[in-house]
């Protein structure tokens, strides 16, 4: 580039000017404000309407409910009286068998209320409660059969790490199509039986995918 003999920058000028030009990280709320506006304008699809949105949220809440029930199972062994008071769980012996993980996949990122801070409508809350109680009932039933080993909800802030040429790369998974929202671990005699048990999980009814995987015992 040539701006004329007298108009190239001196080193001092170039350095001072360059030091003032840098990217600026936006405030955390700006992204959601823009997305919300684009949804209102119909330029981003507000997916699935009320049932799917609450279903996705419901998965999170219900898997948490699973943790609660799993917690009871642990407590039951230590203090039977306390558990009898706090939940209608029928205590049975854990059936012998292997452990299987039921991995709860969602087709898209789980979502808290669309606009941060916006309270859910009564209709949404009601739909969510209904879904949560379905998941909870499923978990309680498996607990009653002595099959429930554990459950956890996974948050959807995902960091994918790989190593290439001795260098570790970490990227945020922002464009995923299918993410793991949580899991239930149960016992069953065989993979086929585990699949049969998983068939009744309400996650399938609400459009989620369930992957059934045997837990391998390593020697």
């Amino acid at each position: 580039m040539n701006d004329g003999p007298n108009n190239n920058l001196s080193d001092e000028e170039a350095k001072a000017l360059r030091a003032l030009g840098h990217d600026v990280t936006p405030s955390p709320g700006l992204e959601d404000r823009i997305v919300s506006e684009l949804k209102q304008r119909g330029q981003i699809r507000a997916r699935g309407g009320i049932v799917m949105q609450t279903a996705r949220f419901g998965v999170a809440a219900a898997v948490l409910a699973g943790v609660f029930v799993a917690g009871l199972a642990v407590g039951k062994r230590g203090d039977a009286a306390q558990v009898t008071q706090s939940a209608p769980v029928v205590a049975t012996e854990t059936p012998a068998g292997n452990q299987y993980m039921l991995l709860m996949f969602m087709r898209e990122r789980g979502e808290a209320p669309a606009q941060p801070g916006a309270p859910a409508t009564d209709k949404q809350k009601e739909a969510m409660r209904a879904i949560v109680s379905e998941y909870r009932d499923w978990a309680i039933a498996r607990e009653g059969e002595g099959r429930l080993v554990g459950a956890d909800k996974l948050a959807d802030d995902i960091r994918v790490m790989t190593r290439a040429g001795g260098e570790t790369q970490i990227v945020q998974a922002a464009t995923d199509e299918r993410i793991l929202g949580g899991y239930f671990t149960i016992t069953a005699q065989s993979l086929d039986e585990a699949v049969e048990i998983a068939k009744s999980h309400p996650h399938l009814k609400y459009g989620g995918e369930v992957e059934v995987r045997p837990i391998e015992i390593t020697q």
Partner: protein
């Protein structure tokens, strides 16, 4: 899982109105847009309003984007246009008078002493908008004249001549400031 490139993300956003694709585009390009806009309008809050407006405009125009420039260049150009509209709505601050006074001073050569960042910032805010845009984009953010021409919708030659004038004006302001300093320290 490497981040998808702009073309794939834009396609997903335009075709499917896909939220995650938009968010990925937003995250990739907003810091660059905001960097330029903060320099143009001054305040951070106002700059974010401008960037929001720019994204809304860009989203509506994306289906017609022909990839004749890089997406980043196009987005920064839209952000600059939004910043211009906002600056136009502000009350004039006597800039023309200041400019006329300064334009009569002889243009000094390149500054070879260390430059105080505060003086430089002040001098930048005093440049007329047209000069300032080109100087910011070229000398602060490192865009080429071709990129600047695409952003501002001007010829590449216009970008070059405006940069030359912008640098001269800037040097006059800095020389002014330097003279004040010397006089005060005497």
């Amino acid at each position: 899982m490497p981040p998808l490139d702009d073309v794939a993300l834009v396609r997903r956003f335009v075709r499917n109105k896909d939220e995650q694709a938009f968010r990925a585009l937003y995250r990739a390009h907003t810091p660059a847009m905001l960097g330029v806009v903060v320099r143009l309008v001054g305040g951070r809050g106002e700059a974010e309003d401008v960037v929001q407006e720019a994204w809304l405009k860009a989203s509506a125009k994306l289906p017609e984007f022909r990839w004749e420039s890089a997406l980043r260049t196009w987005l920064v150009g839209i952000a600059i246009n939004c910043a211009r509209s906002r600056l136009r709505r502000r009350a004039p601050e006597g800039r023309d008078v200041e400019l006329a006074t300064v334009a009569e001073m002889p243009a000094p050569g390149p500054v070879t002493r260390p430059i105080d960042a505060v003086d430089l910032e002040r001098a930048l805010t005093r440049l007329p908008d047209g000069y300032r845009e080109v100087l910011l984009l070229h000398d602060l953010f490192g865009y080429t004249h071709d990129e600047i021409a695409a952003m501002l919708g001007v010829e590449s030659g216009t970008s070059k001549s405006q940069l030359s004038r912008a640098r001269s004006s800037l040097r006059r302001w800095l020389a002014e400031k330097g003279n004040h300093r010397e006089r005060r320290s005497e």
